[in-house]
């Protein structure tokens, strides 16, 4: 092996010096760099999302229900060695003397949170990790509740039939995520105290949660077990469903970037092909000589393989390094998406880069190089005796298959993959047919051209295959470049339009009607532009065109979930500019108060609702009949508040509504701004 190794290395070294393999190497480095930069970048965002998702859930997965969670879910988790805990959430009035405040109560069982942490402040000290849950008989409250009720640590509060002592001030709560806070302040209590309060009765709006945490494998098995057992009103949230707005954007970006990277890999493969041809030609003498001096076919194969592997190792290493630098740029571009800094990437994308590097080089080079194994020794004496010709099928098939495989892998969507592969295949066939025609036409030209043209024609006549390969290579290259240019424009447009620098990163929810003025005043005081306040009315869909809703008839799981949960209806006079009308008409100001409904296309499809259908809703016991007058497409990744179902103004006036708004808080100022909102609530 050492002879083959040293020969391979020496050959490589001097071919580099002679410039014969520089194009090859450059193409390889670019292919790997393109793959790894996208890989590193998406990996960092994925890690962030997973981390945020876990923080948001306080667990790796949560089963949420509007009724106590059936025992088998916890039992199965226990059997599978999955850590569990549970919580109850419900709104309730909290009293202190004459003062009262609507609060969101969260009752905790031991072990909470399974992921992330609860930070509390005690005795005016620094915030520290809670390291447990409130003792029975005590509660932890948010500072703004302390403000509005004017209580301090050690005071007692009244909650239902029980009295509780305030034992700590809540600083931050993992399971609320960093980004979302509610207008109603949080109170945390021990779940063991809940029955005594008498607050949970038939008809109470309680959110029951079973928190689960284990390694990814165990969670996957558990999720697969649990999903089909979820009954009505139960759902499973895991990391993949956390932060959908960013996840959507990421998936799109990953697809775009991934395909762009694959296009550059295809381009690099074309370059490798064209570079491989002269390389093979110029290497003939060397291998013929080795053959003449007694090198076996095996030794020659070994040298060629080692040489290819050395090229692959060097190219993939350089490419991965370049990819790492490249992703820093992508990370910088995407910095606006995240308030927090992205974590360092893992090494796995580099591994993917190496796989791509080795696979492309082997697929492109190996069939060509293998021909060198068969170079006749007689080539030494007679230069006209050249390499045996090979069937084009054998030579090109590995590359074509690899290119298609890579496209399919990165498209991560069968439709997109088929479209891309179909496009490239059609292009190859068209180019082959046209080239053949062109060749015939060229050779049919009269023979009295100038010297250069004559020489060119002679070359085409003598080496039809090389001519074909060159035309095909350049056509594919041009097509890939054009595709890249198109994608680039599309991608940039998408990002720029969907993520303005002041894209909202904070949402305020649960604003009650009587708090609207305070909120507006707060925005003005802070120098923020007047908030877009979106009303929300919770409504349950009961019938479509007079036919009671039959949830079981929906095949799609998501449709089932959507149909059985309460919708947030909202109203708007104008259509938001991140919405696009697909069918029907948007209402005129004169139509205010008419029972019309504008639905988002996706949900309309899922629920089999068409334009003109009559939908019956139940809003806190009141029936509401609406006619679908338009269908809209919504850009969910603009991070703005958007609604599936909208009515004209005046329709929902009599219904109980609360409000939601979004705003942009620069990363560094997030906490003070949040604090200011708490205070405004207390006024």
């Amino acid at each position: 092996m050492s002879l083959a190794f040293s020969l391979a290395w020496r050959q490589l070294r001097s071919q580099w010096a002679a410039g014969e393999i520089r194009v090859l190497m450059l193409a390889l480095v670019m292919a790997v760099a393109a793959t790894t930069s996208v890989g590193f970048f998406t990996d960092r965002i994925q890690t962030t999302l997973a981390r945020q998702g876990a923080m948001l859930l306080g667990a790796d997965a949560v089963i949420v229900a509007d009724h106590p969670i059936p025992a088998p879910f916890a039992a199965e988790a226990g059997r599978a060695n999955i850590q569990t805990s549970h919580t109850l959430e419900f709104p309730s009035m909290v009293l202190h003397g004459e003062r009262s405040q609507l609060s969101e109560i969260k009752a905790l069982a031991p072990g909470f949170p399974l992921r992330g942490s609860l930070m509390i402040k005690q005795q005016g000290g620094e915030a520290h990790e809670a390291g447990g849950i409130p003792e029975p008989g005590s509660v932890w409250i948010e500072p703004r509740l302390a403000n509005s009720l004017q209580v301090r640590e050690g005071d007692s509060l009244e909650l239902g039939n029980s009295q509780f002592k305030v034992s700590a001030i809540l600083h931050s709560e993992a399971s609320r995520g960093g980004d979302m806070f509610s207008f109603a302040p949080r109170v945390m209590m021990n779940a063991a105290d809940v029955p005594a309060t008498g607050l949970i009765q038939f008809g109470s709006r309680v959110k029951y949660q079973l928190l689960l945490a284990a390694d990814a494998g165990a969670m996957k098995t558990y999720t697969a077990w649990a999903q089909p057992r979820l009954a009505r009103g139960e759902r499973l949230q895991d990391l993949s469903t956390a932060r959908p707005e960013i996840r959507n954007a990421l998936e799109k970006t990953q697809q775009f970037l991934g395909l762009a990277a694959m296009v550059s890999v295809v381009l690099a493969m074309v370059a490798m092909f064209l570079a491989a041809m002269p390389y093979v030609q110029s290497s003939q003498d060397s291998y013929a000589l080795m053959r003449c001096f007694g090198a076996s076919g095996k030794l020659i194969s070994r040298i060629l393989l080692l040489q290819t592997l050395m090229l692959a190792v060097i190219g993939s290493t350089l490419g991965s390094l370049l990819g790492f630098v490249g992703q820093l740029g992508l990370g910088w571009l995407a910095g606006k998406l995240f308030v927090e800094t992205l974590p360092a990437p893992s090494w796995q994308p580099a591994l993917a880069g190496f796989v791509v590097g080795f696979a492309t080089l082997l697929a492109v080079m190996w069939p060509s190089l293998l021909r060198l194994r068969h170079v006749p020794a007689l080539h030494i004496l007679r230069q006209d005796i050249a390499l045996p010709t090979w069937s084009a099928v054998w030579q090109y098939t590995p590359s074509v298959l690899l290119a298609f495989g890579l496209i399919a892998w990165h498209a991560a969507d069968s439709k997109l993959a088929l479209a891309a592969i179909g496009g490239f295949s059609a292009l190859i066939v068209a180019v082959l047919v046209l080239t053949r025609l062109l060749r015939r036409l060229l050779l049919a030209l009269p023979q009295q051209q100038s010297g250069a043209v004559q020489l060119g024609l002679a070359a085409i006549r003598r080496r039809p295959r090389l001519f074909m390969a060159q035309v095909l290579g350049f056509s594919l290259g041009m097509a890939a470049l054009m595709l890249l240019a198109l994608i680039r424009g599309d991608l940039l447009h998408n990002w720029q339009s969907s993520l303005p620098p002041d894209a909202p990163n904070r949402f305020v929810i649960n604003i009650q009607g009587d708090q609207l003025d305070a909120i507006k005043a707060f925005f003005k005081q802070e120098g923020l532009s007047a908030p877009e306040l979106h009303p929300m009315v919770r409504a349950r869909l009961t019938a479509i065109n007079g036919k009671p809703l039959d949830i079981a008839s929906y095949k799609d799981e998501r449709a089932k979930r959507l149909a059985e949960r309460e919708f947030n209806l909202s109203w708007a006079a104008e259509m938001q500019d991140d919405n696009r009308l697909l069918a029907g008409e948007w209402w005129t100001p004169a139509q205010a108060g008419q029972p019309l409904l504008s639905l988002e296309q996706g949900i309309a499809d899922m629920l089999h609702v068409k334009l003109g259908d009559h939908l019956s809703y139940d809003v806190a016991g009141q029936p509401l009949e609406l006619t679908v007058s338009s269908l809209r497409k919504v850009e969910w990744d603009t991070m703005r508040a958007n609604f599936f179902a909208l009515t004209p103004p005046g329709v929902l006036d009599a219904m109980p509504a609360n409000y939601l708004t979004s705003l942009h808080v620069p990363g560094k100022h997030a906490e003070p701004a949040g604090a200011a909102i708490y205070q405004s609530d207390g006024d």
Partner: protein
């Protein structure tokens, strides 16, 4: 009509067989029963050029004794290099066989013949044929399967001890041919094929190279098969065979 009717082709074959017997007898007599290093028996080589069959060698017989020094001469295009290629197992004859040290090489595949060449043949070419990617030392080590000390000794013997790490492009034509000679002799081959070894060199350098080649040949007792169009050079060999119309004609009265 008396006797058997013999078709023309068969008559030619019969005639050829008789001539072949004679030639072999002549050759064998000349080399005085020494073991044969190289033997060609009834060798034919036809190639097709633009659809026409071209006969290069026809019924050629040749026997070269071990340690013998022979020259093959002939005009340009007479098939000297083709014959060399066949004798060295680089090419396949259309008909007939080649024996190297008594072994018929026809049943051997490419790898078998490569192994045979590695075992007992050395080559010196007109255009030197050094690998441009390897240094002088590495070029000599190539057929030695990496035996460095042996390669250094060979280069010292041809006077290039100070040029070990030079690449061919940094060596003069004469120096390149010395490297090629060192490479050819280093593995101590039984048979050395030299194809116009001075063809690309000026007269003085060519003379030096030939002196070196013959000196090494004398030292090692290698069988030398020298292909040349230079009669003066050919006459320094023990036997001069002329290739004429595809056959070997022994030139008498030389050497």
């Amino acid at each position: 009509m008396t006797g058997a009717v013999v078709p023309d082709g068969a008559a030619a074959q019969a005639l050829s067989a008789v001539q072949h017997e004679n030639n072999v007898m002549i050759s064998k007599r000349k080399i005085m029963q020494k073991p044969l290093a190289v033997e060609a028996v009834n060798l034919d080589k036809h190639v097709s050029s633009n659809g026409n069959a071209l006969v290069i060698l026809s019924g050629l017989d040749l026997a070269i004794a071990a340690g013998e020094r022979i020259a093959i001469v002939g005009s340009s295009g007479s098939g000297k290099s083709t014959l060399l290629g066949l004798l060295a197992g680089l090419d396949n004859p259309t008909q007939g066989k080649v024996l190297i040290q008594g072994q018929d090489i026809a049943p051997l595949d490419e790898d078998g013949r490569a192994a045979l060449r590695a075992r007992c043949m050395g080559f010196v070419f007109q255009s030197f044929q050094l690998l441009p990617t390897l240094t002088a030392l590495e070029n000599v080590m190539l057929p030695l399967q990496d035996a460095k000390s042996q390669a250094i000794a060979a280069l010292e013997r041809v006077g290039l001890a100070h040029r070990l790490s030079h690449y061919p492009r940094h060596l003069s034509g004469g120096e390149q041919q010395r490297v090629a000679i060192a490479r050819a002799f280093a593995p101590r081959p039984a048979i050395l094929f030299a194809d116009e070894p001075t063809g690309n060199l000026d007269a003085a350098t060519g003379e030096n190279i030939i002196e070196l080649l013959f000196a090494l040949n004398a030292e090692s007792g290698t069988t030398l098969v020298l292909v040349t169009h230079d009669l003066t050079l050919a006459n320094r060999c023990g036997r001069v065979l002329s290739l004429q119309q595809g056959r070997i004609v022994e030139l008498e009265g030389v050497a």
